[in-house]
Symmetry: D5
């Protein structure tokens, strides 16, 4: 049984050797590039069809990799921490500064509840701009009102 970490190493190696981007892999399985990258990194799980198509695109014939891609992963780390890598850190700095405001706006619009991070999708887009192109990261999740009982 191939570990999820070893499967990631195999997939990353093949992607690198073939000079493919996550966009290419996403096309092969008809998914978004962020989700596809998450699959390669072992944070989401694939259907058997997705797993086979991804391996086919990467020229991987080992059933153990196909199998590993379908297992429910352990997501994140043993302890939730804020990383120091600057690109990653910005994703944590934003809610440090604007989190209370985002929470208040969600509550005013929707009431007491949350944006789901499970029934959720996320996109990365380039926005052309004369003063320098911009990165747009979109979080979109179902609003879940707090159930009362």
């Amino acid at each position: 049984m191939l570990s999820r970490a070893d499967a990631t190493a195999r997939l990353t190696e093949a992607k690198h050797e073939q000079g493919l981007d996550f966009v290419d892999l996403a096309d092969a399985i008809d998914r978004d590039e962020v989700w596809t990258a998450s699959l390669v990194f072992g944070d989401v799980s694939a259907s058997e069809t997705e797993a086979r198509e991804l391996c086919a695109r990467l020229g991987i014939e080992d059933e153990a990799v196909v199998d590993a891609l379908q297992r429910e992963p352990y997501k994140g780390d043993e302890e939730a921490t804020i990383p120091s890598d600057p690109m990653l850190y910005r994703l944590y700095e934003i809610p440090q500064v604007y989190g209370d405001a985002i929470k208040a706006c969600v509550h005013e619009e929707f009431g007491d509840g949350i944006m789901s991070a499970i029934d959720f999708e996320c996109h990365v887009d380039r926005i052309d701009h004369d003063d320098g192109d911009r990165v747009r990261i979109t979080y979109e999740g179902k609003f879940l009102p707090y159930k009362k009982w």
Copy 2:
């Protein structure tokens, strides 16, 4: 000199008494509701015009509040931590799960650098959906390539 925390208390109190939403306040100063909420909570600073218009809309005539809104705030907390409030936590759970994928997609599209959290804007929108409306949170910041020297 009114502290920023006291100014927030005064603004929140007035907003509550008058039954206004952040959308109403945003209209009064011609800004987005997330930015406006951040201003009320003391995480961003206003121009004098914005400060006056916000106070006017809220019926606050105290110059000390107008003044406090223009000061550069201390943003966030003395130590960066991950809060347990579920709506806020989701904003940290997303990069815990999808952060590596987002970073990889940004790098493939833009090269080595980051999305700015300063030359940055953020929006909260409602997306109507038959299976339940969805919250869309958009982060958009200028791509900053790492300078070499």
Copy 3:
């Protein structure tokens, strides 16, 4: 505008003076005792009717309390921590010991996803037993499968 913490103090004081249990308050608003206790402690929000009925049962006539009960609360603390109170600690010790097993059983039964803690309810029951009565705490939440995109 009464702070949520002050409202909790008012409600707790009245409950104590009148010798009422959370079960009594739950009956008054037709909710479960756990949810009702969460409302008193400021972790969930009430409808106007619930807020009025709760205050009526407690003999509180102050509109500020009725109002505070309806506001979306900041839940939990600024940082997620494991408390040392032994009754509370047991709720964290259980997933420390059995968490991986629970996660595996949920995945085998439902696939990749989570039990919602929002579309969720929780009950505390006494189970009579000859060797000493038992506490049953039931967590029940909607299964949310991970969305793909």
Copy 4:
């Protein structure tokens, strides 16, 4: 002497190769699936009979595995932490939000004491529901009143 971690690897590998679920293993040793999964993961210890039956069901003939399953395990980690995996995190988010309410309800019903996490059992069940099936996790432990002396 086979380490407990190596025994877990052996058991998990065999379970995967034979396509068995924890429910199947639980049937083989006449235990609940959560307890059985905990045994496989090395968080509880088995009697010799249970250890032999589990190995038999998995086709493992190595006495070292039978032996390892009977040893008292080191449960949890060297430091109690809150993990970031979303399914696991929900088990900690619930007491972050509802913990004070649960504690209060236990005390009103039983007096000063705790729900044991040792004289304890835990179940995972599927609850069919038209709006989406639900996960029910039941914690049941003996009430232990604080001894005075």
Copy 5:
């Protein structure tokens, strides 16, 4: 409703003014001095009789104190931490050094389970010794075997 912390302050003040030791208070309520000190500090709860007798011994006539002593306390702190006070620290240094050995000896003698910290008592004694008197701290708790299910 007197807070538990205020009750502790009242009790400590009275004890100090009257020059009483915890041993004196323990005699008054027919309990051990450690338990009695825990009651004064707000870590355990008393019966009505115990509460009345303790207040009587201390010359406190306020019913609010009698009442506070009977409430189930929040024990310990919001986060379990290791204090730096040297007398307290030694109680944590001992399991840092000898904890694994203690755990192993308990398991060899009793099997898989724990010493209860609830069905538990604790004593502090002076042991006369020519090379300097010794402090004996005795922890005694019911052995609780792990339940299987």
Copy 6:
């Protein structure tokens, strides 16, 4: 030079193969079982005689193990932390709840100082009891008064 961790592995393996308890090993070197277990786990150091007798009882003829047992160990971990294993955790929960009371009783009896954790011994005993046998853990250390200068 055999590392202390490797020596522990060798000793534990031999103890397991020969089906010996820590009580047996303690008899062989005429020490208490808790101290003997600490020696095996590498938290205390032995005299040459003790080291030889322990190895003899376990059938270990390797001088490197005899040597390792005599070295002053690094005790505990690089950072003092509270473990999540329930048996170990109880040893920390007790001072979380009763620590202030223990400290106060020691000070009333002995004055300002501490119980030594070095000039110290510790015992684990079984106390027979009709309602279930009890674990008694005794900490006994010399009282050290704070020196003034």
Copy 7:
């Protein structure tokens, strides 16, 4: 009953008003300046004579201060942390860099044990030097060998 923190404030205020150094106070009670400063800051306890003489030297006539100085203090903080003040930090940086070496030299000279921090004294001295005077901080504590049992 004056709190220890309030006593410290009273003592510090009087010391400042009278322009006295800790050396002056140390002379008054015939103790070292470090110990005397620790007494003022509330980290050690005085005899009645010392307490009276210290108050006399400072012109404090309040018996509550005399009393507070004799109580056993809670030393240090609720959690052991490394402070960022540079003078204090150096006291922690030294064992971060040289701690393993100090430990090894103590063990080679004395065997397995520790330098007591209780049967201990500490001095601060100025060492004149042409390249700039030097601070000498001397820690001296009784060697305590680990007891075996």
Copy 8:
């Protein structure tokens, strides 16, 4: 290029095989034993002469070790933490209890500044004493006044 950790292992092994103390090694290079132990543990760097003499004394002829001893080391750990080993912990407990007093005495004697931990030396000495010998640890560093600009 031999890593500093591997060099430490080589040096420690040789020291052990030859039955040498740090005092012996210190004599060989004409340095103090604490500094010499720090060199062996990889916390300070040697001149080429010192490196050669140390290796010569230990019978090590490998140039890679000589080379490693001269490299500027990474001192301490990736994160400053307080260790639980009792001998090491005492070095941190002392400033937890007496740190404020030490800081105050340094300031009264020298003014605003620090004791350098770089232009610094440290000694371990045995002080004979009838009631048991004592460990004296001397920290001596240049006083550095805060520069103004």
Copy 9:
């Protein structure tokens, strides 16, 4: 005796009322603006002349403020932490990313030692630039070689 925090509040209030910048205050005492701001915030100490001139410039006639400015401050916080304010965080992000490189370059240029943070000065300058002005922060401290002994 005015606390340092209260003195800061007094100074900040006066500076704000009079519309003065730190540059103006720096001119008044003939110091750099960064050092002057540190003095106002209570992180450095002034000579009597500097204290008087600063108060004179701010129109403060209270001797207690003059006095407070001359006291040796407790610098930083009780625990060294990384703040979340983005401007402050950048000062920590830089050594997170470039710290190893800076350390290596210092060592190659100067040998084993450090840049002093005490015999140190720091400047903030604006660098005009066509693509947007730049902030230059200069740290300059005496090189301190590690002393051997």
Copy 10:
């Protein structure tokens, strides 16, 4: 695909064998020594030309190293922490003491915003000085004003 850590090992080894400084490597690729050291340590990424020239200077002919140098690195660690190495620590001590002053001076000069740590450069210089040479570390980054929206 060579990991970034392995590439660093290869580069460091070659640099050491050839006796080159970072200044030499910086000359070879026409970059600053700090940036070049960051490249070797894996904290920044090179263009293909830079990667080839660096490898050429070091006599490395392996394409895998050239390739690794061009990949976007994971910068810093999984969790932002303050290291205990004294040279590195000083880079954190400075903002602990002077950070608030630096922030205030930046705001007074530039308004609400930050110094970029991305559009940024850093230099290490030796400043000759009669009282001992000084290390100058210059941080220079573009001022980024907070965007409003």
